[in-house]
Symmetry: C2
Subunit: 562 residues, 2 copies
Amino acid sequence: MDDLQIAKSASLIPPADVAAAMGLDPALLEPYGTDVAKVRLDAVAAMADRPKAKYVIVSAITPTPLGEGKTTTTVGLGQALNRTGRKATIAIRQPSMGPTFGIKGGAAGGGYSQVVPMEKLNLHLTGDFHAVTSAHNMLSAVLDNHLYQGNAAQLAPHSITWRRVLDINERALRNVVTGLGGRMDGIPRESGFDISSASEVMAILALATSLTDLRERLGRIVVGYTGEGKPVTAEDIQGAGAMAVLLKDALMPNLLQTLENTPALVHAGPFGNIAHGNSSVVADQIGIRTGEYLVTEAGFGADMGAERFFNIKCRTSGLAPDAAVVVATVRALKAHSDKYTIVAGKPLPEELLTENPDDVRAGAANLRKQVENMRRHGVSPVVAINAFPTDFDSEHRAIAEIAEELGARSAVCTHFADGGAGATDLADAVAEAAAEPSEFRLLYPDEMPLREKIETVAREIYGADGVDYTGPAAKQLDSYEANGFGTLPVCIAKTHLSISSDPTLKGAPTGWRLPVREVRASVGAGFVYPICGDMRTMPGLGANPAAHRIDIDENGETVGLF
Amino acid sequence: MDDLQIAKSASLIPPADVAAAMGLDPALLEPYGTDVAKVRLDAVAAMADRPKAKYVIVSAITPTPLGEGKTTTTVGLGQALNRTGRKATIAIRQPSMGPTFGIKGGAAGGGYSQVVPMEKLNLHLTGDFHAVTSAHNMLSAVLDNHLYQGNAAQLAPHSITWRRVLDINERALRNVVTGLGGRMDGIPRESGFDISSASEVMAILALATSLTDLRERLGRIVVGYTGEGKPVTAEDIQGAGAMAVLLKDALMPNLLQTLENTPALVHAGPFGNIAHGNSSVVADQIGIRTGEYLVTEAGFGADMGAERFFNIKCRTSGLAPDAAVVVATVRALKAHSDKYTIVAGKPLPEELLTENPDDVRAGAANLRKQVENMRRHGVSPVVAINAFPTDFDSEHRAIAEIAEELGARSAVCTHFADGGAGATDLADAVAEAAAEPSEFRLLYPDEMPLREKIETVAREIYGADGVDYTGPAAKQLDSYEANGFGTLPVCIAKTHLSISSDPTLKGAPTGWRLPVREVRASVGAGFVYPICGDMRTMPGLGANPAAHRIDIDENGETVGLF
């Protein structure tokens, strides 16, 4: 059975029953169809005196281009915790529709560890991405109208940083010229579209701690600069209020469930490179009061997703994690030995599939560094060995031994094939790790200057020798410090395919320097993001995209979405 | 109290109770929040053996730029029918978000004749407009990707008619150049964005008779032509299946209610000039089985909205109307005397507000022609005299006398101020008119050639002496006939501010010819649309748009939306 078939054969329970199992008053739900509900933000206050769950972050070693199963592990672990008598809720990002119709065809875990209803999750769900798209483009329209009506804020046209967004893979919109036509058709200028998950509005939705905080963050969005370099905000051009109204419902987290009826809060989907790549703060504010464990996921490898989870998301929410799962696979460790090349969309090299625990050990450096990085933040690490049918026991043992050398717990898990039953050892290991006293600490304080923050992450987390800035990057940093953005955390946009900034370097490379090409600021979301290398913020469709295959059959059922 | 305050003080009943009052099994609902539900399409079959309601269309005389209260009258009439012991449901279009943040700030009727929840209705509602936007832009992405991947369909780039859409007022997107940047960023070409309500996908959503029919119509969309003039369809470039999946939920009508709990089906919102401007066929298929009366609305004046309701929508659905309400106001009749100029956004001329039944009579020609046009389709007309506080009884009497001369029923109504209680006379008049045997007939048969269809509408409905075609328009008509589109009905895109094609001509002008500048085809939706004059398909924001005022207050409540 493919993922869509497994998902369709699931036995879902009503959202009210899911809520009741979480200790969440079903009156706090707003239904969206029969299988999905939004949770009203009143839930935060209503549940404030309930005990706090253990807070578990799931991240991974530096992945191959295929991904190593973080969402699947998050789902499997949640199911396993519940199966072993521990009340758990999971919190994950909402997938973007663009890739669903591009290469992927859907993302909600996989096999017997999925969030359902899969079809809704991968399409409109409750419209949050559409609300982000609308709010973002509303500000774009207000901005272009501001220019057209006389530009009272004296925006320097070439300094405008605010673009437009669509939740679609559309390379032809990356670079456009707008405002063409006659005198009544706007002011011509260069601009472009990003995918909606790359919108600062998405990052704001994910980081806002309340509706009031959302409104304030929207107001702080910097859309461009005056000729003198003074930032012009969404508030300055009167665009933030309308955005807040468009986002009001979207700020309520979505309640779904896994195939085994584990509660799943699905909310927001910010990019994992130019943004922090974590699900929402409000979902965690609610989820943390709903049982004994809240398991959430951070995008890409731990050097990216988990570092931002700690230093951006937890800094904002004030919540402290108790355990950090690092997902590892045999294929990824073998790839980190630098003896194999894995390309997305192509079959794995045959020699990678032969029994070879030595190559697993040869790729240990990356896992070692990622586990150390968890410790650096004071959080107990657990290595989840995500098993594939092509693995050998000797290879799993090799990973377990590496973990043991690091003093970290580990467990082999088969939740893809077996659901929660395949991750009970992992659940036990996570429960033990989370029971240790949390010594969570941020990597750097707010008041550290931006350059030092960047260098701290580069040296301590990535293992770089230092940081090199281009002239423009250095100027941007100076101007951000001068404009008062220096107290923001940093979100370093680099490749996710290496712990370094060079996607071809495997393992845990040393003797390299992080090259910062430019630096941008998401002032509303609340971070500065240095860009290292080429960052795509709008994907394209391939020669044979999922969009060509996705259809309805003669019974009106969706096909091709898996 | 403003409209938003009235709407917020409404006593809503649960959607399940609204459904039960309609004889609609609440199990056929999918809830969207607490006050809105979608109606599953299974309802059509489930209710097939219930008696058919009388089918009432609400249209108007040629309006002033302020509008004459069609939606308000539709709501008021529905409420009044229920108040007088007749079971009625109303069916209206969903408002577009673009104008909500532009000049209007919201549209759902007004005063004590509104559809609620007003805030949801004017914002995302259940996401149908977003689904249309997504589906439309998905086809755009598939199309640009088709060009990029080698253009197997041999589309001539300059013949591409498929653009993009956003539900926003955004003049700077009317004309754009896309595909700029490097070799990896698509094929550069001129294009542009329309507002989502102008999308052919919106017209398809409104005209589809089932999910299967929707899928087929999407496949028939013509995106452009080969160098030899052969049409290239959405099916040809493998884009229609993904669109259907994106639109599956959107095809289910939305169930809301009026301030007096009259059931309101709100579904689809196609443009009233380049499209047919009527709410959906599926909503009417369901609504026609839910009581004794189904009251629906047609956009703009009767020469536009009602003519298309008859010859496009009823042709598609097979449903036959039993009565046609023509909304008339004192101010509009006075304006048709051609002695006053009314400008949107400015106060009415003072002299128009003085008692002057002679000027009302001087403007009778337009009302007379619109009423005759209803008769031409075999439908009994009723003149609804929509009263304003500034009117005089003598002026209302003047309108009633004109109606009487035409042998048409009429009633003064005050539903804006008084709700359903203000429209009980209208309800009685409509009930009498609908009780007469329906002699509904289409204005022209499918097999009539396109030119004859255009001339039939121009002469018989608009009162033109004939039609003039530009060279390109004549060529387009020839090519559409050659391509097999000649059996489609026509949707003439002209100004709504005159029954002629010249917005400055009031009353019922004669001695003029309809100038057809170009002709386009919405083959998927199923009509050909000749364009007479300048048609804006993407509005802009004004100097002081509602977007600047709409905000949340300190309690998180929406303000500025009225």
